[in-house]
């Protein structure tokens, strides 16, 4: 397609949105009213199919539509949490009934979702899940434990990966379900971290029940379906980094949205600290006077070189993507670079704090923010795939090096797992 053809199409779409928003957007709507309007108009998710609350527009139109919303100061559909991963998974693998039941309430924000994949015994090795789903009297009984489940405590539904066949190899014995979180067999417990926050939950299943129609995809296709969820998780990782960005409009509907966001942002409030808060370094160095110490200047320069070059590397990846060029190695490196940055930042913050780093809490430096950095950074090189897993992925997928020899290809029943006896 020629550029000018694309441009004129975009302009036509933009004009349509603008007209529709002018006619419909009003701050006196309740949030739910407004989202229902969005869902019915198809402008809430314009790139979704027409049959399901969208307008079937090509993916690259989303930015144009969003731009009009921003210009009008209008709110969009609910996006917080993992609801959009649930939606993407159900759109691809769900039945008509699933879509009918779940999609609309995902967009209106009436239902919240959580992701039940990780377990105490399967972190890096997600496919090693041992939560079991056993068919009994025509219903699935779920037993086991999930971990690192953000927002489980206010979710209506969970995306569950559970083992339905123990005689098949690891990846083949898993199935994918939608689980009703509000039932007696499901217990959600917050999990406290070393930095004092409790952003994640443990979820225990004791004969939790799933009706057979809540299986997503075919029996035994759980890993394949989960891959869809994870692919969307990776794709929207940039979006996740915008947590906490809430619109600052005035009016009841904005109050409602801010209240909603506040709940979802709560678990992530220490994430910027986890990444090392490089943004604070220069000012702290100036304030402490250590900016004139040649040794400290070296450390700061090295840290900023790391963080600047990592930023440019991500931008190179994005630019290549936008030009439709094959992705270079740049795209896979951000996570590992982030670990280096966080660790280096933690070291520099320590240098700048001196013995003050012995303190935490509101009377300590920056009302405890510095302590929170030092006690949160260790999570960066673990959460979302350890540095070691990242290096494996980079070596194997980007550099084409040989895979690890495998010791878990037989029937899962026989694969050593958990803690060695």
């Amino acid at each position: 397609m020629e550029n000018n053809v694309i441009d004129s199409k975009i302009r036509a779409v933009q004009a349509d949105v603008r007209v529709w928003l002018k006619e419909n957007w009003h701050v006196n709507h309740s949030l739910l009213e407004w989202r229902n309007l969005l869902v019915e108009s198809g402008w809430g998710v314009p790139c979704w199919p027409k049959a399901w609350y969208g307008r079937g527009l090509p993916a690259d139109m989303e930015t144009a539509v969003n731009g009009e919303f921003a210009a009008a100061g209008a709110l969009g559909v609910a996006r917080a949490g993992i609801r959009m991963l649930a939606a993407a998974t159900l759109l691809e693998h769900g039945t008509e009934a699933h879509k009918q039941k779940f999609l609309r309430r995902i967009l209106t924000g009436e239902d919240n979702w959580c992701q039940l994949f990780s377990e105490p015994g399967s972190g890096s090795d997600l496919a090693g899940a041992t939560t079991r789903a056993d068919l009994k009297d025509g219903r699935w009984l779920i037993n086991g434990q999930k971990l690192w489940t953000t927002s489980a405590h206010h979710a209506e539904w969970g995306l569950l990966l559970a083992r339905t066949d123990w005689d098949l190899p690891k990846h083949q014995g898993l199935s994918y379900f939608v689980l009703d979180m509000r039932q007696p067999g499901v217990e959600v417990q917050p999990l406290r971290q070393m930095n004092g926050h409790a952003s994640f939950n443990q979820v225990f299943f004791d004969n939790a029940v799933i009706e057979p129609e809540y299986l997503v995809g075919a029996l035994g296709d759980g890993w394949k379906v989960a891959m869809t969820t994870l692919a969307h998780e990776r794709r929207s990782a940039d979006g996740f980094r915008n947590w906490g960005k809430v619109s600052n409009g005035e009016g009841a509907i904005f109050e409602e949205e801010r209240a909603e966001n506040a709940i979802f942002n709560e678990p992530y409030k220490w994430y910027p600290q986890r990444a090392g808060r490089v943004d604070l370094i220069m000012q702290r160095a100036r304030d402490s006077g250590l900016i004139s110490d040649l040794r400290v200047r070296q450390e700061i320069a090295a840290l900023l070189i790391l963080s600047e070059t990592a930023k440019w590397t991500a931008q190179r990846a994005r630019a290549a993507q936008q030009l439709g060029r094959p992705q270079g190695p740049e795209g896979s490196l951000g996570k590992l670079a982030g670990s280096h940055i966080a660790r280096a930042a933690s070291r520099v913050h320590t240098l700048l704090g001196g013995a003050e780093v012995m303190l935490k809490g509101k009377d300590s430096e920056m009302q405890g923010l510095i302590a929170e950095i030092l006690l949160s950074v260790p999570a960066t090189s673990i959460a979302g795939g350890t540095d070691e897993i990242q290096r494996n992925i980079i070596a194997e997928r980007v550099l084409g090096m040989p895979k690890e020899p495998r010791f878990d290809t037989g029937p899962f029943r026989d694969v050593p797992r958990g803690l060695k006896k």
Partner: protein, 381 residues
């Protein structure tokens, strides 16, 4: 022999280690760190009555057992390994070393027996807003008054400051020639004009306090002598380094053990070369740091016994040890969390207890960058 412990010392270590294992399991550490005082008075008493650890390296004339610094280092290593919660470091290291290095005979005779028995808990108040434990950075001024000196100002990062009975406070006096010289002063916890407030430390197993002095009348220990003040801090650095080595060893062992239990991909994670090599690197770093701590302990041992004119080699080793072990401890703690994965970042897993001790100890008594510089200075470079 210079590079090994004697059989007696090894036996002594076994006894201390057994006590620490029994009295300071992590369940106990977790319980005590949530209390205000941070220690169990009964166990403190047992430690002093059964093992006599408080008396260990106080000379016999002052009610002590007269052992040397190497024995003290052994005790600290075992305490650090088990995160033993007690004011031992405050009382038997910081305060005792300050007193031993600066006080008069009479003062030692008056104070040390109660510290040796554990009846009196003492600590050091030195660090001010500039967060330094160096004599030259002490800015609190001790003004001569009737009955001693008057102290005003603040001290913070005072370990066990809320529950100590006695404070050794660093302050300056004018030496007449317009220059000021640092000295230690004795203040009792019930002194008029003294206020104390808890400080919230990242390491809940080592309690901190801020002290405010408003014209508190204090007794000077010995004479003003910045060199001796620095020397007593150097002794404490060596003690801290040995305590930290114990923590390093715990973290290393914990990481190796977990790596051999935890399965992923059908094998223990310890069978992956990445993890194995991390463990090998940790071991190397810990053993090098251990050598530094031991070597420094021996140097202090000799320096404390034979009053030498030139302390520069001892001071060099103290800074070398503090720098070496500080780096090793925090890196070992980071690696231990990494090997534990997500579990290692949870509150219920014990690793963070040592991580926080490591982070806190890194800058306590001066960070590695400072001590590398002090090492060069002590070497006359």
């Amino acid at each position: 022999m210079q590079y090994s412990f004697s059989d007696e010392q090894e036996q002594f270590r076994d006894i201390v280690a057994r006590f620490m294992r029994e009295k300071s399991p992590t369940s106990e550490v977790r319980k005590l760190m949530e209390t205000a005082s941070g220690y169990d008075a009964n166990i403190w008493q047992q430690m002093n009555q059964e093992l006599g650890l408080g008396a260990l390296c106080i000379p016999e004339v002052y009610g002590g057992q007269g052992f040397g610094f190497v024995e003290l280092a052994i005790v600290l290593e075992e305490m650090g390994r088990n995160l033993f919660c007690a004011p031992f470091f405050s009382s038997s290291v910081l305060a005792t070393q300050a007193i031993l290095n600066t006080a008069t005979e009479a003062q030692k005779s008056a104070i040390l027996p109660d510290i040796a028995s554990g009846q009196r808990i003492a600590t050091l108040a030195m660090c001010e807003a500039n967060a330094s434990w160096r004599a030259k950075d002490v800015s609190m001024l001790a003004e001569p008054v009737d009955g001693g000196f008057s102290l005003s100002g603040k001290k913070h990062l005072v370990t066990d400051g809320m529950y100590a009975d006695t404070f050794v406070v660093a302050a300056c006096v004018d030496n007449g020639a317009g220059k000021s010289e640092a000295a230690f002063f004795l203040v009792q916890s019930d002194a008029s004009g003294l206020r104390r407030a808890e400080q919230d430390g990242i390491d809940a197993t080592r309690k901190l306090a801020e002290l405010e002095f408003r014209g508190v009348v204090a007794e000077m220990l010995g004479k003003p002598d910045s060199v001796k003040v620095d020397k007593s801090i150097a002794f404490s650095c060596v003690a801290l380094a040995n305590e930290m080595v114990g923590g390093c060893q715990y973290l290393l062992s914990s990481a190796v053990e977990y790596a051999q239990l935890r399965m992923q991909f059908g094998r223990t994670i310890g069978s992956f070369q990445a993890i194995k090599h991390m463990c090998a690197d940790m071991l190397l770093e810990v053993e090098l740091a251990r050598s530094a701590a031991y070597q420094a302990a021996q140097a202090v041992h000799h320096a404390a016994q034979a009053e030498s004119e030139d302390d520069s080699e001892m001071l060099a080793l103290a800074s070398l040890a503090k720098a070496s072990v500080s780096d090793a401890y925090i890196r070992t703690a980071e690696t231990c969390i990494q090997i534990h994965g997500g579990i290692g970042f949870t509150w219920d897993n014990d690793t963070h207890l040592w991580f926080k001790r490591a982070k806190s100890s890194e800058e306590f008594l001066g960070g590695p960058m400072l001590h590398r510089e002090l090492l060069m200075q002590a070497w006359g470079v």
